[in-house]
Symmetry: C2
C-alpha cells in the first residue's frame, strides 16, 4: 500500500488546546476558484481624516473630542458589547433556558496618531509603547474581570469597521468559551505530564529542525502550530514560562516589539497587501483566578488570517466547518514553507 504523506493524503490533526480535530485536505488547494473575490485592502489610507472618530483632535459620535495624542490613545468603546453595571438576569431552574450575568468593559486602543501606519510599518519603539499599554490594561481591567481579551481585527474582510490602526480590549466578569476550554485542557495536561502544555510543545517544536518554526529571537518564537486551522494561522510564544502579558520583563517586551514588526512584515509580504487577520492574546485568567494556581497556562498570541490563495481570495469557514469540523486546504508545514521563503523587508520599503 502507498506510504502516507502528510502533504498528499487527507488526515485529521488533534488540537490539544481546544480538544478537537481539524480535517487536513492538502490536495484540495488545487481546485479552481469561481467564488467570491474580496476587495483588495485599501493601501492608501490618508494619514489624517478629520471625519474619522479614531484620529487625534476629532469629535467622536459620543460628543467627546479626542486629544492630540502622540503614541497610543485609549478610550471606552462608544458602543460596548459589555457594560460594567446593570441588572442580572433572573435565575431559571430549567436547564434549557439558562441565562447568566455578563458585565465588563470594552475599550479601544489606537496604536498611533497616523491612520496609514499599521503595526509592521511603525517604529519598534512605538510598538513597544503599544505592548506596555496592553500590559497596563491587563493589570487595570484584570483586577475586577475574570478575563481580559486583547484583540485586533485588521482589514475590512475581518469585520474591522475603521481603517485607523487600533485594537480592542473586552474584559468580562466571566471566562469566555475559548479560554474556558483551554483552562481545562492545559490543567489536565499538566496534571498528566507534569509540564505546562505549551512549554512542552515549544521545546518539541524547537527540536524538530524548524519544520514549523518561522522566526526565533532571544525571548520569542513564532511558529505555525501543528494543528493550525486557518490557512496561515500562527502562534507567538515566549521561550520562558510566562503566565500573563503583564508578567513580561521590559527586555522581553522590547524583544516582542521587534518580533511583532518582523512577523507582521512577513505576513504583509505574503500577498503584498496589508494582511488581514484577527489576532489576540491568551494567558492565565485574571480576577479571582489571580489567587489560584494557574501554572498550567502559558502566555501566547494567536494570529488567524483568512486569506488562502491571494490578496483577494479567502478561506470560507462555512457549511461543513460550521456544522461538522474545521477543514484546511494545505498542511501546516506547507504554510510554514511559504512564510519562511518570504523577504524580511516590508514590500512598501522595497528599493528596486
Amino acid at each position: 500500500m502507498e506510504k502516507f504523506s502528510a502533504s498528499e493524503h487527507p488526515h485529521l490533526r488533534y488540537n490539544p488546546l481546544r480538544d478537537d480535530w481539524v480535517v487536513v485536505s492538502p490536495h484540495r488547494a488545487k481546485r479552481p476558484w469561481q467564488g467570491q473575490v474580496e476587495k483588495k485592502a485599501i493601501d492608501d489610507v490618508p494619514r489624517h481624516d478629520p471625519k474619522n472618530p479614531l484620529c487625534p483632535r476629532v469629535t467622536r459620535p459620543s460628543g467627546q473630542v479626542n486629544p492630540d495624542y502622540k503614541n497610543t490613545f485609549i478610550f471606552d468603546n462608544d458602543f460596548p458589547a459589555l457594560l460594567p453595571g446593570g441588572p442580572d438576569p433572573p435565575k431559571n431552574d430549567d436547564p434549557l433556558f439558562q441565562a447568566a450575568p455578563a458585565h465588563g468593559n470594552c475599550r479601544v486602543i489606537c496604536f498611533h496618531p497616523y491612520s496609514d501606519l499599521t503595526l509592521p510599518l511603525m517604529d519598534v519603539g512605538d510598538i513597544k509603547i503599544v505592548i506596555d499599554t496592553w500590559a497596563a490594561e491587563m493589570i487595570n481591567l484584570g483586577k475586577t474581570n475574570q478575563w481580559v481579551q486583547i484583540f485586533e481585527n485588521r482589514g475590512a474582510v475581518m469585520g474591522c469597521s475603521n481603517p485607523h490602526p487600533h485594537c480592542q480590549v473586552w474584559a468580562s466578569s466571566f471566562l469566555p468559551n475559548e479560554p474556558s476550554v483551554k483552562h481545562r485542557t492545559q490543567r489536565e495536561f499538566k496534571e498528566k505530564y507534569g509540564k505546562p502544555m505549551l512549554v512542552d510543545y515549544l521545546e518539541k517544536e524547537l527540536s524538530k529542525k524548524e519544520e514549523r518554526v518561522l522566526l526565533e529571537s532571544s525571548h520569542w518564537v513564532w511558529l505555525v502550530p501543528y494543528w493550525a486551522t486557518w490557512p496561515f494561522e500562527t502562534m507567538l510564544l515566549p521561550r520562558r514560562h510566562v503566565l500573563r502579558l503583564q508578567d513580561l520583563t521590559d527586555d522581553e517586551k522590547s524583544d516582542l516589539a521587534q518580533m511583532m514588526k518582523n512577523l507582521l512584515t512577513i505576513y504583509d509580504n505574503l500577498f503584498e497587501v496589508s494582511f488581514p487577520y484577527s489576532m489576540g492574546w491568551h494567558g492565565a485568567p485574571t480576577g479571582t483566578y489571580l489567587e489560584e494556581d494557574c501554572s498550567h497556562w502559558q502566555l501566547h498570541a494567536l494570529f488567524y488570517p483568512p486569506l488562502l490563495r491571494s490578496a483577494t481570495v479567502k478561506k470560507f469557514m462555512v457549511g461543513y466547518e460550521m456544522l461538522a469540523s474545521s477543514q484546511r486546504d494545505m498542511t501546516a508545514e506547507q504554510a510554514a514553507d511559504r512564510l519562511k521563503a518570504l523577504p524580511r523587508v516590508h514590500y512598501k520599503h522595497k528599493t528596486d
Copy 2:
C-alpha cells in the same frame, strides 16, 4: 435597582447542545456601521449557462458530461476534501502531535436543472424530490461512514463557489467535532432527565406562547433557538421523536417540503434578496452507531445566515468571537419578531 430586561441588558445564554455560552448584547445593534459592505446577491442568474459545470449537458473539469437531468442530479465532487481510500497516518505516542485517519466521500446534489431556481422558488413536488434524495444518500453513505453531513452554502458571501442551486454531502469515517459534542450533551441530558433534549425543548417552546416559534405545520416546527448565535439563526424540528432523516415517513417529507418552501420564502423576504446561509442536517450518527442506542438524538436542521442589518451588511464573527465567545447584537426574541412580521408570499411573486 433597575429590572432586568433581555432586550435591553447584556447577558449570557447557555447553548445546551454545544455546552457553551453566547454573549447577548441587545443594545449593540444601535452602533453605526462603517465597515465592509457585501455585494448584493446576484438576482439574475441565467437559467442555463453552458459554461457552468453544474448545469445539465455541460462537461465538467473532470471531463465527464452531465446528463440532461430533470430534477436532482448527484455526482462525486471533482475536488473532494475526503477520499474513500488512501493510506493512514502513522501512530504517534506524543499527545501534542496526534494525527488520525480521515476517509470519506464528498458528493454534490444539484436541486434542479434551472440555475435561477432556488429552493423557495421551486415547486413543492421538486423540493420533495430533493428531500428523498437526501434520505437516500443518508442510507447509502451511512452504511460505511460514521457521519453524513448534508449542507448547503448559499450565496457568495457564504463561500458558495457556484450560483447553481445545489448542496453537498460530506460523509466521513469519523465523527466530526460538532456532532461529537452534541452526541455527548444529548446523551448526558437524557441520562439526567429521562427525555431527549430537543424533544423536551420543543415541548417547552410550544408551551411558551410562540415567543420564538415562527411556523408550525402538522409535522414540523420552525423556531429561533433560545441560544441562537447568528443574527437570524433558526432551527427546524419534527414534532415526533425522529433519529435520522431517513426515518421520516413519506407524509413527514411532503410536509417538510412545504415547510422549507415557506421558511425560505420568509428568509428571502427579510431583506428582499436571495438570503445567504449555511444550512445542514444533524441527526443520530451512522456507520457503527447504527447498532448503538442513539435514542438521545433528535433530528434537526440548522440555518446559519450571516446577514445582520441589510442585504449587504453581515455580522462578522471575528476577533472576540474567534478568541473568546460568540456575541450577538439582538436577542433571539427580537429576531423572531422580525421574521414573524414578514409576508408569506415570495417578494419575487408579489403582485402590486
